[in-house]
């Protein structure tokens, strides 16, 4: 089945040459497929991920439709309550040891602005004790609607996550 006749036409120098080329190529592949080593985190560093998705409050409060308003609508859409689905943007801030390091306002997702606002940020921190404060505003007012403050220990090499439990309206700190 296998025909090795072609080998007879090859000169010895070319066998040697091939061996040389393959050795070089193999070394190149072997090396670059695992080296040089990439170090992302020093031994005394840890990671903090601030990640949450949260829907802002409704941009307009629901209101009861007047009979005139109802009359204008097609019969199959004559719901009593009118609720715009659009949501307000959400603002999130975080302080690390008293200094604000994160401040972002995220618009709601979706074409009709009716989705969640998303935050995702990764920090590399020196391992050890830190004080974290987080604030979230999802309404209209100037005041923050939810706040939390925690003393945490960042473990070397570990990931700590700050998330927000929407059902409970509460920040959580995981992997502290």
């Amino acid at each position: 089945m296998l025909d090795f006749g072609f080998l007879k036409t090859v000169r010895p120098r070319h066998f040697l040459g091939q061996a040389l080329i393959y050795l070089g190529t193999a070394a190149f592949i072997a090396w670059l497929s695992a080296h040089p080593t990439y170090t992302r985190l020093a031994p005394d560093q840890g990671v903090l991920k601030l990640s949450l998705t949260h829907a802002g409050q409704r941009a307009e409060p629901c209101h009861e439709r007047t009979p005139e308003e109802l009359a204008k609508l097609p019969p199959n859409m004559r719901a009593k309550m009118s609720c715009s689905r659009a949501r307000l943007p959400v603002t999130l801030e975080m302080d690390l040891n008293g200094k604000t390091i994160f401040r972002e306002t995220a618009a709601p997702a979706g074409l009709s602005k009716d989705g969640n606002s998303r935050f995702y940020h990764r920090y590399v921190l020196p391992a050890g004790a830190h004080r974290l404060a987080v604030r979230l505003r999802d309404g209209r007012g100037p005041a923050f609607d939810y706040t939390a403050e925690r003393d945490v220990i960042v473990q070397p090499g570990k990931i700590m996550v700050i998330d927000f439990i929407n059902d409970k309206g509460q920040f959580i700190f995981l992997g502290v």
């Binding site: 072609f6 090859v10 497929s33 990439y38 570990k158 990931i159």
Partner: protein, 521 residues
């Protein structure tokens, strides 16, 4: 626009090719078979991948262990399969990157070639996606790094309502479905890759998709040896609570991840978009006038199909006769694909100089250098040869060593777009008419031929192996081919000197009939 970079790269390639030619012989020079090698590595990766699919387990709890088992338990077999799978994929990146750089350096990406170039760009995307999702499957620390990084990158677009990277925030978020999905992606993306690989070469006739046997065996044994000496292994198991800190990246596939770490998603998207758009529009940024495509002259064409068989780009097709002449078929050129190499002119049986100027016509002609003009050039060259011993007409092409540089005492040159354009009757014409003592045909080395098949068809026609063959009456010792790339002017000079010495010896020996009389007899 690309000239400076090309003139930097081309000599490097030519020098490398010459060196490797010397080392391994031109028949097994990998630089001439980069596309074919990529195909070959794909088959190795596909075969080993199919095997690995059997012992691989798609459940979060056991996936890492199953890969460990593959690697260590039967290291001499399934471990080697895994290593072949990995190193074959790496080799694909190497050959693909060199292939695309080489096509660029040799200016084989614009004009009629736009199609191969444009379809090459998605090949890159499919290749990298295939490789990276393969590394996810291992579900070690490296996989975790790649998964989180890739999704953070994709999330930047916000196309998914939720942040997909959030799925990797907590232990327990991941389900078995994730790995089933991954396997699915890792099978279907390579399948698309394969389909597009075939689309990529659809416009090329006789594409090199199989490397020469020596090269195939050599590279396979190379990968096999590599798999035994440095078996592919995993990092520690993924742990979503732990940040991947020290990683042995496969730089062939992962060079963009550290860039992502430093730049963040927006800048990396910008970079990728700029590179992709640049690659896509490159063929049209080459503001060169495209030479006019070959034209069929139906009054001469008898539908013999030779032009179709010889065209390196599949630019000539045979269609049903449209002019009522008693032949079944006729040739038709697709001007969009035609590179105006003239190889079809060389293949057409009607391309002969043995007619009076008024009747000189061929079934398929190049508007840029019609047969009439070619004959004039040849006659002018013969006239320039003012006698002397061992006179030679040399045919050269626009891409190899400039044939005009050989002109001088006893040597006159004719340059054509591709040496494959020379119809064998022209050689007959020169020698039987006593126009010269010898004919030398030169052009790029076969692996370098700008028009792909020029040297191959020329050699075959001159030795009589392929129609239209040089007529038997032409003394073969007076015809020689000498392929030399632009960086080898001295090699060509040496070949010419050797040829003329042989011709002189021929003259001196009694065996050679005094050819001038013979021709006029």
């Amino acid at each position: 626009m690309f000239k400076p970079l090309q003139s930097l790269l081309r000599p490097i390639f030519l020098r490398l090719e010459s060196g490797v030619d010397w080392l391994v012989g031109p028949g097994a020079n990998p630089l001439y078979h980069l596309g074919a090698l990529t195909f070959f590595f794909f088959w190795i990766v596909a075969a080993t991948g199919l095997y690995l699919f059997i012992p691989y387990e798609t459940s979060v709890a056991t996936v890492y262990q199953s890969v460990e088992k593959i690697t260590h338990e039967q290291w001499y077999f399934s471990g080697v399969m895994r290593s072949l799978h990995r190193y074959g994929s790496d080799a694909m990146v190497v050959t693909t990157m060199v292939h695309l750089t080489r096509e660029f350096a040799f200016d084989r990406f614009s004009g009629a070639r736009w199609f191969a170039w444009i379809t090459g760009v998605p090949l890159l995307a499919f290749l990298f996606t295939s490789g990276i999702t393969g590394y996810w499957l291992v579900w070690d620390m490296l996989a975790q790094y790649l998964a989180v990084g890739s999704l953070e990158w994709v999330d930047w677009f916000g196309i998914f309502g939720e942040s997909t990277a959030r799925n990797f925030l907590f232990r327990g978020f991941l389900t078995d479905r994730f790995f089933t999905l991954l396997i699915f992606i890792h099978i279907f993306v390579p399948l698309f890759l394969l389909i597009v690989m075939f689309v990529h070469i659809i416009r090329i006739s006789r594409p090199g998709v199989n490397p020469p046997k020596l090269l195939a065996w050599g590279t396979f044994l190379m990968l096999l040896a590599l798999s035994f000496v440095f078996p592919a292994t995993s990092h520690g198991p993924a742990d979503l609570g732990v940040e991947p800190a020290v990683l042995n990246l496969d730089w062939f596939y992962m060079f963009l991840y550290p860039v992502f770490d430093n730049w963040g998603p927006a800048k990396l998207w910008a970079l990728v978009a700029v590179v992709a758009v640049a690659l896509f529009v490159m063929p049209w940024l080459q503001f060169k006038k495209r030479p006019a495509a070959a034209e069929v002259h139906l009054d001469q064409c008898n539908g013999c199909t030779r032009c179709t068989l010889d065209c390196p780009f599949g630019a000539v097709v045979m269609i049903n006769r449209t002019d009522g002449r008693p032949f079944a078929r006729e040739a038709k050129v697709d001007p969009d694909i035609c590179t105006a190499c003239g190889i079809c002119v060389g293949s057409c049986p009607t391309s002969t100089p043995f007619r009076s100027a008024a009747q000189l016509a061929t079934g398929i002609d190049l508007p840029g250098l019609p047969l009439v003009a070619l004959k004039e050039k040849v006659v002018a060259a013969m006239d320039r040869l003012n006698g002397g011993p061992a006179t030679v007409i040399v045919f050269g092409c626009e891409h190899g060593v400039d044939a005009a540089s050989l002109e001088g005492e006893g040597v006159a040159s004719v340059t054509v777009p591709c040496t494959g354009m020379i119809p064998p009757p022209f050689v007959d014409f020169i020698l039987s008419d006593g126009g010269a003592d010898g004919v030398l045909l030169t052009g790029c080395r076969p692996g370098d031929c700008f028009h792909r098949l020029g040297p191959r068809w020329t050699d075959a026609r001159m030795t009589g192996a392929r129609e239209p063959a040089l007529r038997d009456r032409v003394p073969r010792e007076r015809v020689r081919t000498a392929w030399a790339s632009p960086d080898q002017p001295n090699k060509l000079k040496a070949e010419m000197a050797a040829f003329r010495a042989d011709l002189a010896a021929l003259e001196a020996s009694a065996v050679a009939p005094p050819k001038k009389e013979a021709a006029h007899a």
